[in-house]
Protein backbone atom coordinates (compact mmCIF):
# COMPACT_ATOMS: atom_id res chain seq x y z
CA UNK A 1 0.00 0.00 0.00
CA UNK A 2 2.81 2.37 1.03
CA UNK A 3 4.66 1.55 -2.19
CA UNK A 4 1.61 2.47 -4.28
CA UNK A 5 1.21 5.73 -2.37
CA UNK A 6 4.90 6.60 -2.91
CA UNK A 7 4.56 5.86 -6.62
CA UNK A 8 1.43 8.01 -6.91
CA UNK A 9 3.12 10.92 -5.09
CA UNK A 10 6.19 10.57 -7.31
CA UNK A 11 4.09 10.55 -10.50
CA UNK A 12 2.11 13.60 -9.32
CA UNK A 13 5.34 15.45 -8.48
CA UNK A 14 6.90 14.64 -11.84
CA UNK A 15 3.72 15.74 -13.66
CA UNK A 16 3.62 18.97 -11.61
CA UNK A 17 7.25 19.65 -12.51
CA UNK A 18 6.59 19.04 -16.21
CA UNK A 19 3.54 21.37 -16.16
CA UNK A 20 5.47 24.05 -14.21
CA UNK A 21 8.42 23.77 -16.62
CA UNK A 22 6.18 24.03 -19.68
CA UNK A 23 4.36 27.03 -18.17
CA UNK A 24 7.66 28.77 -17.36
CA UNK A 25 8.90 28.14 -20.91
CA UNK A 26 5.70 29.55 -22.45
CA UNK A 27 5.86 32.63 -20.24
CA UNK A 28 9.54 33.36 -20.82
CA UNK A 29 10.11 32.02 -24.33
CA UNK A 30 12.86 34.27 -25.71
CA UNK A 31 12.53 35.98 -29.06
CA UNK A 32 14.78 34.85 -31.88
CA UNK A 33 18.15 36.60 -31.61
CA UNK A 34 18.32 39.47 -34.11
CA UNK A 35 22.08 38.90 -34.49
CA UNK A 36 21.43 35.38 -35.81
CA UNK A 37 18.79 36.44 -38.33
CA UNK A 38 19.82 37.16 -41.90
CA UNK A 39 18.34 40.37 -43.32
CA UNK A 40 15.52 39.98 -45.83
CA UNK A 41 16.44 43.41 -47.25
CA UNK A 42 19.61 45.52 -47.22
CA UNK A 43 18.72 49.12 -48.10
CA UNK A 44 19.58 52.80 -47.56
CA UNK A 45 17.33 54.65 -45.08
CA UNK A 46 16.40 57.33 -47.64
CA UNK A 47 15.54 54.68 -50.20
CA UNK A 48 13.32 52.75 -47.74
CA UNK A 49 11.52 55.93 -46.63
CA UNK A 50 10.97 57.02 -50.24
CA UNK A 51 9.60 53.61 -51.18
CA UNK A 52 7.17 53.76 -48.26
CA UNK A 53 6.07 57.28 -49.16
CA UNK A 54 5.44 56.32 -52.78
CA UNK A 55 3.70 53.01 -52.11
CA UNK A 56 2.62 52.63 -48.46
CA UNK A 57 0.28 49.65 -48.89
CA UNK A 58 2.67 47.69 -51.08
CA UNK A 59 5.52 48.56 -48.69
CA UNK A 60 3.52 47.31 -45.69
CA UNK A 61 3.05 43.99 -47.46
CA UNK A 62 6.72 43.88 -48.47
CA UNK A 63 8.44 44.96 -45.25
CA UNK A 64 6.24 44.31 -42.15
CA UNK A 65 7.70 41.47 -40.05
CA UNK A 66 10.78 41.35 -42.28
CA UNK A 67 14.32 41.82 -41.01
CA UNK A 68 15.76 44.94 -42.64
CA UNK A 69 19.38 46.10 -42.60
CA UNK A 70 19.36 49.85 -43.08
CA UNK A 71 22.15 52.44 -43.43
CA UNK A 72 21.91 56.19 -43.06
CA UNK A 73 22.89 59.39 -41.27
CA UNK A 74 21.87 59.75 -37.60
CA UNK A 75 19.52 62.77 -37.39
CA UNK A 76 18.31 62.32 -33.81
CA UNK A 77 18.99 60.19 -30.71
CA UNK A 78 16.52 59.97 -27.82
CA UNK A 79 15.08 57.52 -25.30
CA UNK A 80 11.54 56.15 -25.21
CA UNK A 81 9.43 55.67 -22.09
CA UNK A 82 10.98 52.22 -21.60
CA UNK A 83 14.38 53.95 -21.56
CA UNK A 84 15.44 52.27 -24.80
CA UNK A 85 17.50 54.22 -27.31
CA UNK A 86 15.63 55.52 -30.34
CA UNK A 87 17.65 56.59 -33.39
CA UNK A 88 16.24 58.40 -36.41
CA UNK A 89 18.10 57.94 -39.69
CA UNK A 90 17.25 60.76 -42.05
CA UNK A 91 18.97 62.78 -44.76
CA UNK A 92 19.03 66.57 -44.36
CA UNK A 93 16.88 67.09 -47.43
CA UNK A 94 14.26 64.47 -46.49
CA UNK A 95 11.07 65.09 -44.51
CA UNK A 96 10.86 61.50 -43.33
CA UNK A 97 13.31 58.69 -42.56
CA UNK A 98 13.63 55.52 -40.49
CA UNK A 99 13.01 55.30 -36.73
CA UNK A 100 14.97 52.51 -35.06
CA UNK A 101 14.38 51.41 -31.46
CA UNK A 102 17.48 49.61 -30.26
CA UNK A 103 17.28 46.25 -28.50
CA UNK A 104 17.67 46.67 -24.73
CA UNK A 105 20.97 44.75 -24.87
CA UNK A 106 22.43 47.35 -27.26
CA UNK A 107 22.90 50.16 -24.73
CA UNK A 108 26.71 49.85 -24.72
CA UNK A 109 26.85 49.99 -28.51
CA UNK A 110 24.47 52.98 -28.53
CA UNK A 111 26.75 54.99 -26.26
CA UNK A 112 29.25 55.55 -29.07
CA UNK A 113 26.73 56.83 -31.63
CA UNK A 114 26.42 60.59 -32.29
CA UNK A 115 24.21 62.76 -34.49
CA UNK A 116 25.78 63.02 -37.95
CA UNK A 117 27.36 59.56 -37.86
CA UNK A 118 26.70 57.17 -40.70
CA UNK A 119 25.62 53.83 -39.22
CA UNK A 120 24.06 50.51 -40.21
CA UNK A 121 21.34 48.88 -38.10
CA UNK A 122 19.34 45.68 -38.42
CA UNK A 123 15.81 45.29 -37.06
CA UNK A 124 12.27 44.11 -37.74
CA UNK A 125 9.97 46.46 -39.66
CA UNK A 126 6.57 47.09 -38.04
CA UNK A 127 5.22 49.69 -40.50
CA UNK A 128 5.30 53.47 -40.90
CA UNK A 129 4.25 56.37 -38.66
CA UNK A 130 6.12 59.69 -39.04
CA UNK A 131 8.99 57.49 -40.21
CA UNK A 132 9.39 53.84 -41.20
CA UNK A 133 9.62 51.97 -37.88
CA UNK A 134 12.15 49.25 -37.07
CA UNK A 135 12.04 47.34 -33.78
CA UNK A 136 14.63 45.37 -31.72
CA UNK A 137 17.49 46.91 -33.71
CA UNK A 138 21.13 45.95 -33.32
CA UNK A 139 24.10 47.97 -34.49
CA UNK A 140 25.96 46.38 -37.41
CA UNK A 141 28.56 49.15 -37.91
Amino acid sequence: MKKILKTVILVVLVLALIVAGAWYYIMHMPEKSMAKQSPDFVIEAAELAAEYENAPTASDKKYIDRVVEVSGIVADISHDQNDQTVIILRDEQSLTGVLCTLDEKQEKAAAGIAVGDRITLKGTCTGMLFEVVLNRCILIK
Binding site: E31, D65, D80
Partner: protein, 196 residues
Protein backbone atom coordinates in the same frame (compact mmCIF):
# COMPACT_ATOMS: atom_id res chain seq x y z
CA UNK B 1 -6.43 52.82 -49.38
CA UNK B 2 -3.07 54.02 -50.69
CA UNK B 3 -4.27 57.52 -51.48
CA UNK B 4 -6.21 57.72 -48.22
CA UNK B 5 -3.18 56.82 -46.13
CA UNK B 6 -0.86 59.11 -48.10
CA UNK B 7 -3.25 62.03 -47.71
CA UNK B 8 -3.60 61.26 -44.01
CA UNK B 9 0.18 61.12 -43.46
CA UNK B 10 0.81 64.30 -45.49
CA UNK B 11 -1.84 66.14 -43.45
CA UNK B 12 -0.48 64.61 -40.22
CA UNK B 13 3.10 65.68 -41.01
CA UNK B 14 2.25 69.12 -42.38
CA UNK B 15 -0.08 69.93 -39.46
CA UNK B 16 2.56 68.70 -37.01
CA UNK B 17 4.98 71.35 -38.21
CA UNK B 18 2.68 74.28 -37.38
CA UNK B 19 3.29 76.32 -34.25
CA UNK B 20 0.36 75.19 -32.12
CA UNK B 21 1.16 71.51 -32.59
CA UNK B 22 2.94 69.27 -30.15
CA UNK B 23 4.12 65.84 -31.21
CA UNK B 24 5.86 62.71 -30.00
CA UNK B 25 7.06 59.59 -31.76
CA UNK B 26 7.49 57.61 -28.56
CA UNK B 27 4.23 57.69 -26.63
CA UNK B 28 3.41 54.57 -24.61
CA UNK B 29 0.26 52.47 -24.77
CA UNK B 30 -0.23 49.76 -22.15
CA UNK B 31 -3.06 47.28 -22.62
CA UNK B 32 -4.37 44.67 -20.23
CA UNK B 33 -7.05 42.03 -20.54
CA UNK B 34 -7.94 40.07 -17.40
CA UNK B 35 -8.70 36.44 -18.07
CA UNK B 36 -9.36 33.29 -16.03
CA UNK B 37 -6.25 31.43 -17.19
CA UNK B 38 -3.68 34.16 -17.74
CA UNK B 39 -3.93 37.94 -18.02
CA UNK B 40 -2.76 39.37 -21.33
CA UNK B 41 -0.53 42.42 -20.96
CA UNK B 42 1.23 44.28 -23.77
CA UNK B 43 3.14 47.54 -24.28
CA UNK B 44 3.85 49.68 -27.32
CA UNK B 45 6.52 52.37 -26.99
CA UNK B 46 6.53 53.46 -30.66
CA UNK B 47 3.31 55.44 -30.74
CA UNK B 48 2.95 58.72 -32.68
CA UNK B 49 0.80 61.48 -31.15
CA UNK B 50 -0.12 64.98 -32.20
CA UNK B 51 -1.97 67.59 -30.17
CA UNK B 52 -3.18 70.88 -31.60
CA UNK B 53 -3.49 73.25 -28.63
CA UNK B 54 -5.51 75.76 -30.68
CA UNK B 55 -8.44 73.58 -31.72
CA UNK B 56 -7.98 70.59 -29.36
CA UNK B 57 -7.49 67.99 -32.09
CA UNK B 58 -5.66 64.95 -30.78
CA UNK B 59 -4.40 62.13 -32.99
CA UNK B 60 -2.76 58.87 -31.98
CA UNK B 61 -1.37 56.27 -34.38
CA UNK B 62 0.09 52.95 -33.22
CA UNK B 63 1.41 50.01 -35.19
CA UNK B 64 -0.12 46.65 -34.26
CA UNK B 65 3.20 44.89 -34.76
CA UNK B 66 4.99 47.22 -32.32
CA UNK B 67 3.17 45.73 -29.32
CA UNK B 68 5.38 43.67 -27.01
CA UNK B 69 3.54 41.02 -25.00
CA UNK B 70 4.59 40.00 -21.51
CA UNK B 71 3.97 36.34 -22.31
CA UNK B 72 7.08 35.26 -24.21
CA UNK B 73 5.29 32.69 -26.37
CA UNK B 74 2.59 35.18 -27.33
CA UNK B 75 5.21 37.76 -28.25
CA UNK B 76 6.88 35.21 -30.47
CA UNK B 77 3.64 34.17 -32.18
CA UNK B 78 2.11 37.63 -32.62
CA UNK B 79 5.26 39.19 -34.08
CA UNK B 80 5.76 36.71 -36.87
CA UNK B 81 4.55 36.65 -40.43
CA UNK B 82 1.95 34.00 -39.46
CA UNK B 83 -0.21 36.78 -37.99
CA UNK B 84 -0.73 38.95 -41.04
CA UNK B 85 -1.77 42.54 -40.30
CA UNK B 86 -0.69 44.15 -43.54
CA UNK B 87 -4.27 45.05 -44.56
CA UNK B 88 -4.76 47.08 -41.35
CA UNK B 89 -1.32 47.60 -39.74
CA UNK B 90 -2.30 50.68 -37.70
CA UNK B 91 -4.61 51.59 -34.83
CA UNK B 92 -5.71 55.20 -35.13
CA UNK B 93 -7.50 57.47 -32.69
CA UNK B 94 -8.80 60.77 -34.03
CA UNK B 95 -10.32 62.91 -31.30
CA UNK B 96 -11.03 66.40 -30.05
CA UNK B 97 -10.72 67.76 -26.52
CA UNK B 98 -14.16 68.96 -25.42
CA UNK B 99 -13.13 71.16 -22.46
CA UNK B 100 -10.30 73.02 -24.22
CA UNK B 101 -11.21 76.37 -22.63
CA UNK B 102 -10.42 74.97 -19.19
CA UNK B 103 -6.80 74.20 -20.16
CA UNK B 104 -4.22 77.00 -20.08
CA UNK B 105 -1.36 75.81 -22.27
CA UNK B 106 0.76 78.84 -21.37
CA UNK B 107 0.60 78.19 -17.60
CA UNK B 108 2.40 75.18 -16.06
CA UNK B 109 0.05 72.91 -14.16
CA UNK B 110 -2.08 69.78 -14.39
CA UNK B 111 -5.46 70.03 -16.09
CA UNK B 112 -8.16 67.34 -16.46
CA UNK B 113 -9.36 66.83 -20.02
CA UNK B 114 -12.24 65.09 -21.75
CA UNK B 115 -12.00 63.90 -25.31
CA UNK B 116 -14.42 62.53 -27.86
CA UNK B 117 -13.10 60.67 -30.84
CA UNK B 118 -13.18 57.80 -33.25
CA UNK B 119 -11.06 54.71 -32.78
CA UNK B 120 -10.10 52.76 -35.89
CA UNK B 121 -9.03 49.15 -35.31
CA UNK B 122 -8.80 46.64 -38.15
CA UNK B 123 -11.78 47.30 -40.41
CA UNK B 124 -13.91 48.84 -37.68
CA UNK B 125 -14.43 52.26 -36.22
CA UNK B 126 -16.19 53.19 -33.03
CA UNK B 127 -16.87 56.33 -31.05
CA UNK B 128 -14.55 56.23 -28.04
CA UNK B 129 -14.71 58.90 -25.36
CA UNK B 130 -11.85 59.16 -22.87
CA UNK B 131 -10.61 61.37 -20.10
CA UNK B 132 -7.33 62.02 -18.37
CA UNK B 133 -4.89 64.75 -17.43
CA UNK B 134 -2.65 67.11 -19.37
CA UNK B 135 0.35 68.48 -17.49
CA UNK B 136 1.90 71.63 -18.93
CA UNK B 137 5.57 71.55 -17.91
CA UNK B 138 7.73 74.61 -17.28
CA UNK B 139 9.97 73.69 -20.25
CA UNK B 140 6.95 74.00 -22.55
CA UNK B 141 6.38 70.28 -23.05
CA UNK B 142 2.98 68.70 -22.37
CA UNK B 143 2.49 65.35 -20.67
CA UNK B 144 -0.74 63.52 -21.39
CA UNK B 145 -2.15 60.60 -19.39
CA UNK B 146 -5.37 58.74 -20.05
CA UNK B 147 -7.07 55.48 -19.01
CA UNK B 148 -10.03 54.03 -20.84
CA UNK B 149 -11.68 50.71 -21.63
CA UNK B 150 -12.44 49.16 -25.00
CA UNK B 151 -15.13 46.48 -25.05
CA UNK B 152 -14.81 43.72 -27.63
CA UNK B 153 -18.12 42.97 -29.32
CA UNK B 154 -19.41 39.38 -29.59
CA UNK B 155 -18.85 39.25 -33.36
CA UNK B 156 -15.18 40.08 -32.77
CA UNK B 157 -14.88 37.36 -30.12
CA UNK B 158 -15.99 34.99 -32.89
CA UNK B 159 -13.17 36.36 -35.08
CA UNK B 160 -10.68 35.57 -32.28
CA UNK B 161 -12.18 32.09 -32.09
CA UNK B 162 -11.64 31.67 -35.84
CA UNK B 163 -7.99 32.74 -35.53
CA UNK B 164 -7.45 30.27 -32.66
CA UNK B 165 -8.98 27.47 -34.72
CA UNK B 166 -6.87 28.42 -37.75
CA UNK B 167 -3.65 28.44 -35.75
CA UNK B 168 -4.47 25.50 -33.44
CA UNK B 169 -6.53 23.07 -35.55
CA UNK B 170 -6.68 20.58 -32.68
CA UNK B 171 -8.50 23.04 -30.45
CA UNK B 172 -11.82 22.63 -32.27
CA UNK B 173 -13.97 23.51 -29.27
CA UNK B 174 -11.75 26.22 -27.84
CA UNK B 175 -14.02 29.19 -27.29
CA UNK B 176 -12.88 32.60 -25.97
CA UNK B 177 -15.90 32.57 -23.65
CA UNK B 178 -14.90 29.16 -22.26
CA UNK B 179 -11.38 30.47 -21.64
CA UNK B 180 -12.90 33.35 -19.71
CA UNK B 181 -11.36 35.95 -22.01
CA UNK B 182 -12.66 39.29 -20.84
CA UNK B 183 -14.53 41.46 -23.32
CA UNK B 184 -12.97 44.52 -21.71
CA UNK B 185 -9.49 45.71 -22.62
CA UNK B 186 -8.05 48.32 -20.30
CA UNK B 187 -5.89 50.88 -22.07
CA UNK B 188 -3.44 53.27 -20.45
CA UNK B 189 -1.77 55.89 -22.64
CA UNK B 190 1.05 58.28 -21.71
CA UNK B 191 2.74 60.79 -23.98
CA UNK B 192 5.33 63.52 -23.57
CA UNK B 193 4.57 65.99 -26.35
CA UNK B 194 6.97 68.66 -27.57
CA UNK B 195 7.02 71.26 -30.33
CA UNK B 196 8.59 69.77 -33.48
Amino acid sequence: MKNGFLLFMVLFLSQALTAQNYITRTAHIHIRSDNKVQNIVADNYQVACQLNTQNGEFKIIALIKSFEYQIGAMNRVMNTRDINVTDYPRITYDGKITNLKQINFSKPGTYPFKINGMLFIWDEKRITPAQGTLTVNSDGSIEGNSDFTITIEDKNLNKIDDIIKAKLPGAINLQPNALGISKDIQVKATALLKKP
